[in-house]
């Protein structure tokens, strides 16, 4: 088991928010576990993040009014809180994505130039 593990990716401050926004944007309404599973799937690693750390991000986004949660039933008839993007959330996603691209591009460029 241990040998399988890649080094854990420490998320940059604020990136988790963007990841959550993006996932909700592409997948539609989703509960926290669904989000965690999706992120693990994308990251190609089951232990990339503690699922618990999603919660502060969800609260933050909810307080900003970018997402909102509502209790629903899953297909297996379990109750779960489904989060979805609000209208401002969609705008924020666009805005944050651009910002991230600019930042990432800048960092990339710097990394390429430095020996």
């Amino acid at each position: 088991m241990a040998s399988e593990q890649k080094p854990r990716v420490e998320l940059l401050q604020g990136t988790l928010d963007l990841i959550v926004l993006r996932s909700l944007g592409t997948m539609g309404p989703q509960h926290a576990y669904g989000l965690a599973a999706r992120i693990e799937q994308v990251a190609d690693h089951p232990l990339a993040l503690n699922q618990g750390t999603l919660y502060p991000a969800l609260v933050r986004l909810e307080q900003k009014g970018w997402i909102k949660g509502a209790w629903q039933r899953t297909q297996n008839n379990r109750e779960a809180k489904y989060y979805s993007l609000t209208k401002t959330g969609f705008r924020a996603l666009k805005h944050e994505t651009e910002r991230w691209r600019r930042l990432a591009g800048l960092v990339d460029k710097l990394l390429l130039q430095e020996p």
């Binding site: 509960h31 926290a32 576990y33 669904g34 965690a36 599973a37 089951p46 232990l47 503690n50 699922q51 618990g52 750390t53 919660y55 502060p56 991000a57 609260v59 933050r60 307080q63 900003k64 009014g65 899953t74 297996n76 379990r78 109750e79 779960a80 809180k81 401002t88």
Partner: protein
Amino acid sequence: MAAVRRFLRRLANLVLPDRAESELARELDAHLALVSDELERRGMTRDDARLAALRAFGSVARAKDLHREARSFAWLDDIRQDIGYALRMLRRSPGFTSVAIVTLAVGIGLNTAVFTVTNATLFKGFPLVHRNDRLLYLTSGPGCCVSYPAFEDWRAQATSFSGMAIVHGVQRTLSDQSGFAEQYEATEVSADTFRVAGQSPMLGRDFSPADDTPGARPVAMLSYGFWDRRFARDPAVVGQSIRISGTPTTVIGVMPRGFSFPQRVDLWVPLVPTPEVRHRENRDTWFVFGRLRDGVTVEAARAEMTTIGRRLEIAYPETDRGFLPVVARFHEFFIGSSATSIYQAMLGAVSFVLLIACANLANLLLARAIGRVRETSVRLALGAGRWRIVRQFVIESLMLSAAGGFVGWWMAKWGVRTYTVFASGSGLSPDIRGTWFDNVLDYSPDFRVFAYLAAISIGTGLLFGLAPARRLSKLDVNAALKDGRGGSRGHGGRLSGLLVALEMALAIVLLAGAGVMIRSFWNVYTADVGFKAENVVVALLSLTGDRYRTRDAQTAFFDDLTTRVSTIPGVESVSVGALPGGGAQRIAYEIEGTPTLDDQRRPRLWGSTIGSGYFATLGVSLLSGRDFNDTDRPSAIQVLIVNERFAGRHWPGQNPLGKRLRLFRGRTPGPWMTVVGVASNVAQNDPLQPDANSLVYLPFRQAPRPDSWIVARTRVPPGTVSAGIRDEVRAMDATLPIPLGPFALVDRMADRYRYRAITGVLFLTCAAVALLLASVGLYAVVSHSVSRRTQEIGIRLAIGATARDILALVFRQGLLPSAAGLAIGLAAAYVVNRALEAQLVQVSPADPVALVASSAVLALSAVLGCWMPARRAMRVDPVVALRHD
């Protein structure tokens, strides 16, 4: 918007944490259920799935913590924790806590009380008057008072004011259907007074411009108090007619409760500009007031009024030359600049006390901080941030200062109440209430007082809390944990030494200030006024009505009254006349043999009308000649008595008896009057300068007056004959009012130095509190250091130090900072006393008695503060001390 919403949600979460918490718990449960469902589907057993789910989730507690932090104000939670901790710490040392709270309460209470009084006197202005700060008070100077035509010119020409009105105070008698007459305070004002003041009547109508035109139907506005007292708050009184000095007058309205502008007023009547009032040289209205137009500064208004004044000087050279408008703010006009400085001095004195209290607490906290070194180092070692440590200590001191502020608030309320009783003289006879403003000013606290209270409470908390906190937060954790005592003894000792020196310096400044104030008060109190006020009872009578119109009737009334009063048991002698120390009139005169001057340049003297026996009754000695007697009839030769000062000035080296002078009524000279006696000097307007005023006395029989004081010397306490005097007056004329008295003359005298007494008492209180705090502070520092150095003292004793050496060691530590403080304080005291100089009477700011006495008191208390710990140090048993940790 988003920020606001986030803030509101966080706030909601703070207030209702349970809802968010249970919601989160439900969500986390659901989450774990989903994960284990998934794992079970992949073939795990239920229990394994549950465990794996938890593992994947990470720490539930941490997730909850993070969630909590994100959704709420984490720092607020922290502070709540800190407050709880601080409360526990404070509760654990009740001695320290109560000493600290009491110290602060005294400091904060004194400050708040003095600020409340200052605020009421200097800043608040008249109750129920709109925007007091925009009202200006105008008179023409030098001296006082405005002529009505000048007021009209000002009002017509000035553009700085949105409204201007004039005030003229008079006293009149009121009678109505109920039959008895009452003397009351009426104030004549121009019709737009209430509009300029920004207050309208609560009942009836305001004055209209027609009301102050000549020939208008007389109207009056009642004050609430008068309406209540006299008419039992009957609304039907509006529209009714009452008789004011015999004139039927219609009541048009009642002003709201508490409105009393610009003095204690029973009612207002319009000032009708009769031809008499409209004389330009008739400068006898009290003052003009105006409301500044929006955006106009006081300086601009002042400049404009000066320009207008110069214009009037040119237009009316005979009457207006030399008189310019004087524009003043509320406190400049009513309180005067020297009184303003006394309030500043009082504020200064109490702030010194507060500073000493702060220094004291800082020292106490420093001592405690040393005791808490180990606790703090453990917290630092466990990862507490330095900021967190500082915050913890600051919160502790803020809680102390908040408690002190709370207790201080109650003390201040009590202090202000005491002050108002004292200042308004209601502890004395109600007839001799002091100056006008004590009856007008509103001492209830307003937002300024609360802001001040909050500011000084928080300010002191920060001031005395930061020093120890900073010191602790800079601890060297390793060293501290190893030796457990912090080791940085030198620094703490130096800081507390400095604080002790500061306390001593402030205390000496206060002591010296109190010293000169008390010396000054004593000088006023014991000043020889030239007469004996003890055992004298006085009452003012005012003969109104047709019965007393003639001079004969006036003479007969007072003759009869004197005879009647002299038969009251306990009365030794009786006379009539103006009261000494006020009540004389300014009269133009001419001495026989001097050239006749024109009207403007004719000299004026102070003249006082008295009956026979006046000098004996008041204990004024007659130096030569004779007293007035029954032979001084109107038809006889006109006589007068001069005082020593008058005689010395006009007939130096000659016998004044038989000299003649005459008085002027307007431009008409009276008959020549012959000097028949010389009386010793009596302090007239300033009790400190008995010979400042030359004075002449006129015989009541030859110059009777409708109003005069009756003066009686008693063998019994003066209060006991008051009822008898009242009865005799009533027996003669039941409808005759006694506007003032009867009361003891000494009480009226007390009125004169009451303000000096108040400031003296305040300074003395401050000095006493300061001395107590400073010596307790010194004691605490020395005592603390002795207990910390027990081991060291033990070693010294063990290696041969004598008790004397130990004594010297302890005293050196306490007395060095005290001496430094004393030296600095004496220098500062001189500077501060110089600022008080305007208030001092016959005392130098560097008064050696005050300075030496206060230094001695301070030195003594410093020695006492060191003596007790020193004795403890000498008794240290080396064997015990060396084992002492």
